[in-house]
Symmetry: C2
Subunit: 107 residues, 2 copies
Amino acid sequence: MTIPQSEELNLLHVHICQALSDPTRLQILYALHDKPRNVTAIAKLLDTPQSTISRHLAVLRQRSLVTSKRDGMAVNYSLSYPRIITVLDMMREVLREALEQQSQAVQ
Amino acid sequence: MTIPQSEELNLLHVHICQALSDPTRLQILYALHDKPRNVTAIAKLLDTPQSTISRHLAVLRQRSLVTSKRDGMAVNYSLSYPRIITVLDMMREVLREALEQQSQAVQ
DNA sequence: TTTGGTTATCCGGCTATCCGAATAAGCAGA
DNA sequence: TCTGCTTATTCGGATAGCCGGATAACCAAA
């Protein structure tokens, strides 16, 4: 067998990738990488309705990608595993090189 | 502004993540990392209908994650950027550690 | 040019996801 | 406890994704 991964891990992996496949959620993750923020702050920063942001944060929370902590009236969100940003950056790096190769191939 | 990424790259990034958020497609990528294979071989390996595999390969091809090359009667598929597997493995690594932490926290 | 192995596409139908307005729920300070 | 700020959830509806059987398209060998 050439597929050594456990079924379980595979499904979790899919879950994570699915969480990452939305432009707003990616932006949220990068915003939280910059610094922890509350819902309203993120909503303003991304110019997106509060309900939308809250829903996206719920997705990220369920997948354990972000952690919430109440701070006075607000709820502060932060990255659970900052290394996930490294992974995202690596992905972008591969993407960037792929684009370069393609543009060269066109010429 | 704390979100330095270009709109464009962001959408491409989402596209890639979306391609990665299906268990069958992940299995296909790992199978191709093992060695290049044709559609029928993948279908047999994963015990999945040929049409389903072909559809998934089309998605991966559109996203430039795999490359196809005709070889006699068959079409051989291979990874365009093997480094994507490194990225996937890193993601799994973060995931594994997250699981460990959670299981410890439960105790 | 016919045959048979291989791959891509079409089809109908189901499920999942996303959206923003509206509303409910939580909580701290007066 | 009432007020007001913050966050979570509900709602209806639109869009996108996935599935596998059937069929079409491709191509090499006879």
